[in-house]
């Protein structure tokens, strides 16, 4: 136990923890996208999948708490590390040419992350809180066909659509650095496979957020 505690309070242990929670969230996001995208071509499939996710006890009482822990952990640890890193340089440079040696994305993970946090608050207010209220506070009877309508009508509001689109742009920027960075952090780096990880990371970081943007705009246009 002593070793575990020492590992996770060290700089490198925290890197591992940040990276592992990130990889977990990357997998979750893909699954979230895979379900949401069905809403653009089949109301039935979307309802069926949502009903399963919304009522399966394993998903609700095991995976959902793990997910919430993963999200909260990633944010809290991100802030802790940011504060520690800022304190590691008390006097700032008068001139610091960050663009000469690193990408904008890599230097601004805290800002893209903060925007995503703001979005998550909004997203929870939109979907997760009403859903929890529906099921576990008011104990309303389950209707397997309710999901499609609940989701789709949200995108009738153009302001919401704009917020969603903007948030996914920030998510894309976050992932453009974060995807490959999480592999580097856990030490998964080799001349043979690192180029493939980088390529995959770019594809993921562009395609998945673009897919979510497509879903939001598709439903908005459909409801016009």
């Amino acid at each position: 136990m002593g070793w575990t505690k020492q590992f996770f309070s060290s700089s490198i242990g925290r890197k591992f923890a940040m990276a592992l929670s990130a990889l977990f969230l990357i997998i979750f996001l893909l699954q979230h996208f895979a379900i949401n995208v069905t809403s653009t071509f089949s109301e039935d499939i979307f309802n069926e999948l949502s009903h399963f996710m919304g009522t399966n006890p394993l998903v609700q009482f095991l995976l959902q708490p793990i997910l919430i822990f993963g999200v909260v952990f990633h944010f809290v640890m991100g802030f802790i590390l940011e504060i520690k890193n800022r304190n590691s340089r008390e006097v700032k440079y008068a001139i610091n040419k960050g663009s000469a040696n690193s990408s904008w994305m890599s230097r601004n993970m805290i800002w893209s992350g903060l925007f995503i946090l703001f979005f998550l608050g909004f997203h929870f207010y939109d979907f997760w809180i009403p859903e929890m209220n529906y099921k576990y506070v008011q104990f309303k009877p389950e209707d397997p066909d309710r999901y499609y309508e609940e989701v789709v009508h949200m995108f009738a509001n153009p302001i919401r659509v704009v917020i969603y689109v903007l948030s996914f742009v920030f998510l894309s920027l976050h992932l453009l650095h974060g995807f490959q960075s999480s592999f580097q952090s856990i030490g998964a780096r080799h001349d043979k496979y690192t180029p493939a990880i980088r390529k995959l990371g770019k594809i993921y970081a562009l395609a998945v957020p673009a897919g979510f943007i497509f879903i939001a705009i598709y439903h908005y246009l459909n409801l016009l």
Binding site: K15, N85, S88, G98, Q184
Partner: protein
């Protein structure tokens, strides 16, 4: 030598009298600087000028002036060791600048590198990290085996050599937005971890050096890759990934 006209420059130099005192940027003018002179020679000319005027010269670190000792530092126009790739400040030449340029010169800035005076910082933290494990305990009683008698994979030997070219100048810390020392520490851990002589103590070395690095107050690595770009010796981020694996092995293995 070249007949190119001398450069007239405005220098904004960080002046600070000890770590307790607050520092400030001071502006100086230098004229007729040969484009063939090195950056440090330009600093020498500035100091001659300051001494002639009865002022305190600017303190800066330097030693070999041929890019191998790791003493020179200076954050020039927002970059560690100034513009140019894989060079130290002493290898930077004034031909990189144009007549009339303003050059900002600052010390390495990191909590773990306190300013001693002006542009000189205390990089003792690196020495303490090395003392925590950056060595191989060899029996020197006369029975030591010839290193050449131990077979080493050429690929590993090359990587170990690349890591060992780190001169410990601290540019990685200076340029990192988090003032992280991971490129330095990972180079030192790697140069040993890749060779059979170093593998015997690899686990405790990784743990001891990383713990010492944390204790010294360096920031955490966020994989921006700035260190690798600014490093005068081109030390690769691959070493940081290796250090992460070594630390994991050392902690749980």
């Amino acid at each position: 030598m070249s007949a190119t006209e001398g450069l007239n420059l405005t220098l904004k130099v960080w002046r600070q009298n000890g770590n307790e005192e607050k520092g400030r940027m001071e502006t100086y003018q230098v004229s007729n600087i040969s484009p063939d002179s090195s950056f440090l020679e330009m600093m020498d000319i500035l100091n001659e000028q300051l001494i002639d005027e009865g002022n305190e010269p600017v303190a800066f670190d330097h030693d070999c002036r041929e890019g191998i000792c790791g003493m020179c530092s200076m954050f020039i126009n927002g970059e560690a060791h100034g513009p140019g790739e894989q060079i130290t400040t002493c290898q930077l030449h004034m031909r990189e600048f144009k007549n009339g340029d303003t050059i900002h010169i600052e010390p390495w800035r990191a909590k773990a590198f306190p300013v001693i005076k002006d542009l000189v910082v205390d990089r003792g933290a690196f020495d303490r990290i090395m003392a925590a494990g950056g060595f191989v305990s060899v029996n020197t009683s006369g029975n030591t085996q010839d290193a050449n008698a131990i077979p080493v994979d050429k690929h590993d030997a090359d990587k170990a050599f690349d890591a060992a070219t780190c001169i410990g100048c601290g540019a990685c810390v200076a340029t990192c937005k988090n003032a992280s020392a991971m490129l330095f520490v990972s180079a030192k851990i790697s140069q040993f971890a890749l060779l059979p002589q170093g593998q015997v103590e690899a686990k405790e070395r990784a743990v001891n050096m990383v713990n010492k690095m944390d204790e010294e107050g360096f920031g955490n690595c966020t994989n921006t890759g700035a260190c690798e770009v600014e490093c005068p010796k081109g030390i690769s981020l691959e070493n940081i990934a290796r250090m992460n694996r070594e630390y994991l092995k050392g902690s749980f293995g």
